[in-house]
Amino acid sequence: MLFEQLLFFVAGLGALAGALGVVLIRNPFYSVLSLVAHLISLALLFLLLRAEFMAAAQVVIYAGAVMVLYVFVVAYVGGSDEPLGPEGGPLRRIGPLFAGVLFLELAIAVVGSSLDALDSTGPEVGASFGSPGEIGRLLLTKFLLPFEAASFLLLVAAVGAVVLARKRRGLEEPDDGVPTLSVADVLREEGAR
């Protein structure tokens, strides 16, 4: 029990610190690293919640793959220090206030909730709860449709990213002589060029 509590507080503080780091650090590169720390802490919390598969996915996909993407982009764009100063108008200054109010509301909602189960550690669950096997079975039976939709979404996002990031002729870079054909070109009426 104590171990779990200890782990919760360590991981929770880690996650919180990571989150604050993301928000407060001015250098985007360190923000990314801070997010990695946050994600790993979160993965620990997931373990506490008996979501082994999700914890693994969190570390492998998020902290691993996605964050690498971030790092690359930061490196490419060149993460310059951003002033945390007053620019951006009044909205920017009251931003934290809004966030605080939101947290208060949510906290009141959770604490003041009459849901008794919240104050428990949850029911006893079998050893296979949250295991990759269980999740896989659910994905291919009960949640087949969302699963397929998600895969399609990924495909669309991939195509979208290609279209967005590809080189364009005649805008800012000299023509490299390689003709490109986009989906938009196919759909455009002839004569409208």
Binding site: E189, E190, G191, A192
Partner: protein, 516 residues
């Protein structure tokens, strides 16, 4: 024996338009023309096959659509919409043919929108479910928005904005009315929007009245009738000709058709209650439209205002609440569609020769273009309801229907017949006779233009020689539609708040209408 599926008729153009959008333009445009001709063929087969003795619906399609709200996909044909469908098919065939021959700018998109518009209009005419009708009614706006905005002339942005917003506001009022009608008429959540069901669920007279006003607003804007015709001027100026033909000939009929199909059977007491108001609007439209038609210099606007006057006649016929009047109104819808379509094509031809739509710049075309002059003459005479034209039969029925109960209004309206002679003959004379303007280049109709205009003229003449072909098939249906509203005058329970002093068995004498 083949069976007629209305869904095919309705959606054929849309499907063709969609396919054509992915074909090369020169193939695609002819595919759309072929589809409109197919619909026309279907419509002709329907007229031939139609059982004129039955007043009921034929070729019915009836499926559940949104069952939670009691909305059904219900299509059907009776005498009321048979010829309007044929009219729509004919005009779209003519207009797409016309467009196929000359639209150079984004032809596939243009043709797709035309086809889409035909589907929407056919759907509105066929729909037998109020919700479905509303859907098609609003759907009509979409292709026309793009057609006018994308291919219009002159100040097309302003025209499109005004047209869309103004008619959309009307449509939204109707949507509100339709929802209210369905909800209030369906006690205890037993919702139904089927017109046949609604007609059997009479509402309180007071409720009927405000719902009537909502519907009337939508239909009168669409028609258009004075004073809700404000969108006409800009729109008629800007709209490209093939679009204008179908806009003026078919689209405007959906509004007045709505009165016969929906308002009269479902809101009989309110129709009776507002009879005088509607007749006054109609009469004012007739006179106002006529007077303005002959003080216009722009050919398109002459026809625009003449349409207002003609639609005034149609509304007058409908709200005479007599069988003769409605029969005449229905016939006039078809006739007006035919003549106005032909007129706009002719005006397009004239404009091409004069280089301007101004009557002052035309003139003297008859010498070099005798065939054009002859066709124009036939159409112009039909427009002014020359006896022997189908329009005459329609107008005499309307006037006879009106005279029965509302003699005074009828007499005032008949002045409109004389005024029609003034503006139509003026239009003919200014463009065909007198001296030729130096800037105009009179020349004869091309063969392809002739192929568009001549068939319309032939139909006009044929209907003038034998109008019975139409009356035979329509009169059962029209009679049944007016019945409820006409008898509401005789003191049915819900009309009790408007006591009538009418003679037994007859309609109320003019002016005895008591406003609560």
């Amino acid at each position: 024996m083949f069976t007629i599926h209305l869904s095919i008729v309705v959606f054929l153009p849309f499907a063709a338009g969609l396919i054509a959008a992915f074909l090369p333009a020169r193939v695609g445009r002819w595919l759309v023309v072929a589809a409109t001709l197919g619909v026309l063929g279907y419509a002709i087969a329907m007229i031939a096959d139609f059982d004129g003795d039955s007043g009921g619906l034929q070729y019915v399609t009836d499926d559940a659509w949104i069952s939670e709200l009691g909305i059904r996909y219900q299509l059907g044909v009776d005498g009321l919409n048979l010829f309007l469908i044929a009219l729509t098919a004919l005009l779209w065939a003519a207009a797409t043919l016309w467009a196929a021959l000359r639209t150079e700018d984004r032809p596939r998109l243009f043709m797709f929108n035309m086809a889409f518009a035909e589907t929407a209009v056919l759907g509105a005419f066929c729909a037998q479910d109020l919700a479905l009708f509303v859907v098609f009614f609003d759907l009509m706006l979409v292709p026309f928005y793009f057609l006018i905005g994308g291919w219009g002339e002159g100040d097309r942005v302003r025209a499109t904005t005004r047209f869309t917003i103004y008619t959309l506001v009307g449509s939204l009022l109707m949507l509100a009315g339709a929802i209210a009608l369905g909800v209030l008429a369906g006690p205890g959540g037993d919702l139904s929007f089927s017109l046949a069901v609604l007609a059997e669920r009479p509402l309180e007279a007071g409720t009927q009245q405000w719902i009537f006003l909502l519907f009337a607003a939508a239909f009168l804007v669409k028609a258009p009738l004075f004073p809700l015709h404000g969108w006409v001027v800009d729109t008629y100026r800007a709209t490209p000709i093939p679009v204008l033909v179908v806009l003026s000939a078919a689209l405007s009929k959906v509004g007045v058709y709505g009165f016969l199909r929906i308002v009269l059977p479902i809101l009989p007491d309110a129709s009776q209650h507002f009879q005088d108001l509607m007749i006054i609007l109609a009469v004012v439209s007739i006179l106002y439209g006529s007077v303005l038609a002959f003080s216009q210099d722009e050919a398109r606007l002459v026809v625009a205002y003449s349409s207002i006057a003609q639609l005034g006649f149609i509304v007058l016929g409908i709200f005479s609440l007599s069988e003769l009047g409605s029969q005449g109104a229905l016939m006039q819808m078809v006739n007006h569609g035919l003549v106005v379509g032909a007129l706009f094509f002719i005006i397009a031809v004239l404009t091409a020769r004069a280089g301007s739509t101004s009557l002052a710049r035309m003139g003297g075309m008859a010498l070099r273009a005798p065939v054009l002059a002859a066709l124009f003459l036939v159409v112009a005479l039909a427009t002014l309801a020359m006896p022997g034209s189908p329009n005459f039969v329609a107008e005499i029925l309307i006037l006879f229907g009106t005279f029965e109960d509302k003699l005074v209004y009828g007499l005032v309206a008949s002045a409109g017949v004389a005024l029609a002679a003034v503006y139509m003959i003026r239009l003919f004379q200014r463009s065909m006779h007198n001296r030729t303007e130096p800037s105009a280049e009179p020349r004869e109709l091309g063969g392809l233009d002739l192929a568009v205009i001549a068939p319309l003229t032939v139909v006009i003449v044929a209907l003038g020689v034998y109008p019975q072909v139409m009356l035979d098939r329509t009169d059962e249906a029209t009679t049944s539609k007016v019945e409820a509203a006409a008898t509401a005058a005789d003191g049915s329970p819900s009309a009790a708040e408007a006591p009538q002093a009418g003679p037994p068995g007859g309609g109320a004498p003019p002016g005895v209408q008591v406003q609560p």
